[in-house]
């Protein structure tokens, strides 16, 4: 297997982009990544997208997007693993370059979510749960995470203040990210008094509906070292992927993300490091409780300590373990298929020293964690700066 490096990134301002279609957004992010890398072609392309069919009545994205990005007849594939589609696309691209099958691969993610109304978007997202045994009962994603939140509260005494602090922290980071959908700070009081969505979760505990795309360019580390010298070399040193039951009720422990734990262990093992060696991370905070559970399942904090860690500022930009410097899904936005790729972009930018006013000091190793549904799938990647 070859080491794989990231040599270009492309993203755009996310939000409710009434004038941009799915193909427009992908072409914009993809062309920016190609331009950023300074390349004149790609060997192949992977696209993460959860539900273009339900959101935009369009399938067969691989060919559509290869055409509109202007890379025909390059091979292209669209992959889907609900909200982890972007992370999965990254894994596919990494595998293709690592295996030696291709030298230059574009990995993109995209979701166009505002071509349907709120009800329809809620429905489309709910298909990431067990449609027949959760969806049929009237479950929504906020509800399923609320069930986890209640269990976490009951088991560990996690407080609403702690959950709310996660959102406050994410927005304080997102305020420094010009690409974020909601780049402004929020107060603890605003979060705790926001509209109830699924008790105990309120609107500001939930990631928004977002249109957006993101793309990165992968090449073998040897080629990166030889031909892409303008930036520090950033290499994928760990990759892990795992699945779990799609139905939340089938899990033994409602307060734990087994797929994340297993994916992380694989990634740590590959990178030959442990959770304490990670300088910072982008994690899947689709809901505030998710960030708490995920930071525990990744091994950053003991079970039950994710809430207190957020409250103490450990996960803040100036804390010991900065989480979601991009603003996370909460502030940056959550176009589901694009999220996993955008997480990679944030870590790469931090390692390149190109994260602007939210730049962390002296970071060498970052982690991304992207998951589908209530944790039915999870992807973890570890990126390291070399030299």
């Amino acid at each position: 297997m070859r080491d794989v490096a990231i040599v270009g990134v492309g993203i755009h301002k996310w939000g409710e982009l009434w004038n941009m279609s799915l193909r427009d957004m992908f072409a914009l992010a993809g062309s920016r990544a190609i331009e950023d890398a300074g390349i004149d072609h790609i060997d192949s392309m992977y696209i993460g997208c959860m539900s273009s069919g339900l959101f935009t009545a369009q399938e067969h994205l691989a060919s559509l997007l290869a055409d509109y990005l202007g890379v025909l007849p390059a091979p292209a594939a669209r992959v889907e693993s609900a909200c982890a589609s972007g992370g999965l696309a990254f894994r596919m691209g990494w595998m293709e370059v690592a295996s030696g099958l291709s030298d230059i691969v574009l990995v993109g993610g995209v979701e166009k979510m505002t071509d349907v109304n709120g009800d329809e978007a809620t429905f489309a997202l709910s298909t990431a749960a067990d449609t027949e045994y959760e969806g049929y009962q009237g479950a929504t994603f906020p509800a399923l995470y609320a069930l986890m939140a209640r269990a976490h509260i009951d088991k560990y005494g996690t407080t609403l203040e702690q959950m709310s602090q996660v959102a406050v922290k994410s927005h304080s980071n997102g305020a420094l990210n010009p690409d974020a959908q909601y780049p402004f700070p929020v107060t603890l009081e605003q979060v705790m008094k926001s509209t109830l969505v699924a008790e105990p979760l309120r609107l500001l505990h939930c990631s928004p509906i977002t249109d957006g795309a993101a793309a990165v360019i992968l090449v073998p580390a040897d080629i990166a070292k030889a031909k892409f010298k303008k930036r520090p070399l950033v290499v994928v040193t760990g990759a892990g992927h795992a699945t779990d039951t799609i139905a939340l009720h089938s899990r033994k422990d409602l307060t734990w993300m087994n797929s994340t734990e297993i994916a992380a262990k694989k990634a740590y093992q590959m990178a030959n490091i442990g959770p304490k060696d990670i300088d910072f991370a982008e994690v899947h905070d689709c809901f505030s409780i998710a960030e708490i559970i995920v930071t525990e399942s990744l091994g950053f904090f003991e079970a039950g300590q994710g809430g207190p860690a957020a409250e103490k500022g450990i996960t803040a930009r100036d804390g010991a373990k900065p989480i979601n410097t991009s603003g996370g899904l909460k502030s940056k936005g959550h176009p589901v298929g694009a999220t996993g790729v955008a997480q990679i972009i944030e870590v790469v930018r931090q390692l390149w020293g190109e994260a602007g006013t939210r730049q962390l000091n002296n970071v060498r190793r970052g982690l991304t964690q992207n998951m589908g549904g209530t944790g039915g799938s999870a992807l973890v990647h570890i990126l390291e700066k070399r030299g």
């Binding site: 009962q137 009237g138 906020p142 509800a143 609320a146 969505v197 009720h249």
Partner: protein, 129 residues
């Protein structure tokens, strides 16, 4: 997306009668599956009709087919045989719901496919009185 006849009909045994499968190891599979762990003997099983609330939430925002019901409670229910289901908790003031609360299964209408489509039935849970 409207539920059409084939999809609805397939789920009737599970939805109406809580038909499941129990392995000799005690593990319950709901719904029944095509493939079970190798070498494990399984037999038909009907889910226990009583249980307790493991966790719950109250939805203020719901998908279209459920929006008339808001605010409604949804729980993860552990039945007395150890099986777990997701189910709405009805016939109770949502403020009175607590984890650990005993509940029983009742037959209810889950959703209505517009003015012309199917009426969709299944299980919900109600508090034990």
């Amino acid at each position: 997306m409207k539920i059409r006849s084939p999809r609805y009909a397939r789920e009737i045994p599970q939805r109406y009668r809580c038909e499941a499968v129990k392995a000799e190891t005690g593990e319950i599979f709901f719904p029944p599956r095509v493939v079970y762990p190798k070498g494990v003997k399984v037999a038909p099983h009907t889910l226990a009709q009583t249980g307790k609330v493991l966790s719950y939430t109250i939805l203020n925002v719901a998908p279209m087919e459920y929006s008339d019901l808001t605010p409604y409670a949804l729980g993860v229910i552990e039945l007395d045989d150890g099986a777990r289901i997701t189910a709405q908790i009805v016939d109770i003031d949502t403020a009175e719901i607590k984890t650990g609360m005993p509940v029983k299964i009742e037959f209810r209408k889950l959703r209505t496919e517009g003015d012309e489509g199917l009426l969709c039935y299944g299980y919900k849970v109600v508090p034990m009185r």
